[in-house]
């Protein structure tokens, strides 16, 4: 783990990279990392996240700045720009049921070859997927997802990089921390080692590559 700045952390992300971004309607998304991606004008990004928030917030900033080529998300309904750009053919959108999306990411991070879920059986979601019967129930085989980078927003980090999240800002953050080659963390507060009791650590420091202290 290394501590770094927003500028230097984002400079390691090449155009065309795939990014997992924590957050649910921008709650638990690092606004400062989104701002820096826009400032450095990264292009052709693939974004894997729950949603695209709304214009002006979270991932909505990347959409507005035309940095995104592809989005894998469960919901884009509160961001009209994402829908417009999808219909105009500027952004490729893959919609995935939320529980399936988080499990595909978990599978990617936990070394699994996929997951079996009943969600989507008999609907348009099953198109092109293998169906597998287990004990008389039908499941879809959903494949793992990984990304080049995971961009996390933590509430607390210690100097080693152990992380905790606050309230509903946790959401996708600890799961994407397992599923990307490089993990970049915007920590709102940094505390001495030992201040986060072992039982309260939600993401172990060994998963963190870059920790960005604020100011």
């Amino acid at each position: 783990m290394r501590t770094t700045t927003f500028e230097n952390a984002v400079a390691t992300i090449p155009d065309g990279a795939s990014l997992m971004v924590g957050g649910f309607m921008a709650v638990g998304t690092s606004e400062l990392l989104m701002d820096e991606l826009v400032r450095q004008r990264k292009r052709d990004l693939t974004v894997i996240a729950n949603d695209t928030a709304m214009p002006g917030r979270g991932i909505g900033k990347l959409v507005s700045a035309n940095l995104v080529r592809k989005i894998i998300a469960s919901h884009i309904g509160l961001n009209p720009e994402t829908q417009q750009k999808m219909l105009a053919g500027q952004i490729d959108v893959e919609l995935v049921p939320q529980g399936t999306l988080i499990e595909r990411i978990r599978a990617g991070g936990y070394g699994l070859g996929g997951i079996l879920t009943p969600t989507g059986v008999g609907t348009v979601v099953e198109e092109g997927k293998r169906k597998i019967d287990v004990d008389g129930r039908t499941y879809l085989l959903e494949t793992p997802l990984r990304a080049d980078f995971a961009l996390l927003n933590a509430f607390l980090a210690d100097y080693l990089g152990n992380l905790t999240y606050a309230l509903t800002a946790r959401n996708f953050n600890p799961v994407i921390a397992m599923a990307a080659d490089t993990v970049i963390v915007d920590a709102e507060h940094i505390v001495p080692i030992g201040m986060i009791p072992p039982d309260h650590v939600m993401t172990p420091a060994v998963l963190v590559d870059y920790l960005i202290p604020r100011g």
């Binding site: 649910f24 309607m25 921008a26 709650v27 638990g28 729950n50 949603d51 928030a53 709304m54 998300a73 469960s74 919901h75 884009i76 309904g77 509160l78 829908q83 999808m86 919609l95 049921p97 939320q98 529980g99 399936t100 988080i102 499990e103 978990r106 879920t117 009943p118 969600t119 989507g120 059986v121 008999g122 609907t123 348009v124 979601v125 509430f155 606050a166 309230l167 509903t168 800002a169 946790r170 959401n171 996708f172 953050n173 600890p174 799961v175 939600m202």
Partner: protein, 217 residues
């Protein structure tokens, strides 16, 4: 009583003490306003919270404590938070006793369509498909018709949310449930006749000899 209040009050009669309940956005959210006094319900918000409380006053909103629509909520004492994998494990794993969801269409097989209108509205399914697949009981809360067109149809023309039949449908006119004979009219709203419900419904309904009126005040 306005239609949405009536629907919410009727669905509140389905609650029982200690249930884990997930409410969708729109009319379903209103059900929380009619929990009977003294009854404890665990309300889940799928962004990672059990113990969702009332909407806080503006100055008391906490930016990291929101509902599944991203709006500020409060958490009651005893609340707990978790990540999205656990949240959907609770949903898919059958730990949620009841979910109440909005609907665009429900058909005679009690199949629900509530996540897209091709070419018009493609918001994404969010958590709806997991909720219908996994919750122990699924109730649809919706207006009986939109622009004079029945939302209860013989077969859904919109993409389905799940092939699992929902358990109960509550509108401002009627309560319906699937049975081995077909979609059955269980109750009518106060002042509404069976004949009126049948006229305003585009699906064949099974009508028992006696159809009581909803027991709401």
């Amino acid at each position: 009583m306005d239609p949405t209040t009536l629907i919410a009050k009727r669905i509140a009669l389905e609650l029982s003490d200690g249930m884990l309940v997930n409410l969708g956005i729109g009319i379903p959210t209103l059900v929380a306003n009619y929990v009977p006094a003294g009854m404890h319900i665990f309300f889940q918000s799928e962004n990672g919270l059990i113990g969702t409380g009332p909407i806080p006053e503006e100055a008391m909103a906490q930016p990291r404590l929101t509902d599944a629509g991203g709006r500020p909520v409060s958490a009651i004492p005893g609340a707990c938070t978790f990540d999205s994998a656990m949240s959907f494990g609770l949903i898919r794993g059958g730990h949620v006793d009841l979910t109440v969801l909005g609907g665009l269409q429900v058909d005679a097989s009690a199949h629900l369509a509530n996540w897209m209108i091709p070419g018009k509205m493609v918001p994404g399914m969010g958590g709806a498909m997991d909720l219908v697949s996994g919750a122990k009981r699924v109730i649809v809360a919706m207006q009986h018709s939109v622009k004079g067109k029945s939302k209860i149809v013989e077969a859904c023309t919109l993409p389905l949310t799940s092939v699992r039949a929902v358990d109960l449908i509550v509108t401002e006119l009627a309560v319906l449930a699937p049975s081995s004979l077909g979609l059955t009219l269980l109750e009518t709203a106060p002042g509404v006749t069976v004949k009126q419900v049948l006229e305003l419904t585009d699906a064949k309904l099974v009508v028992p000899p006696h159809v009581p009126s909803m027991n709401i005040k």
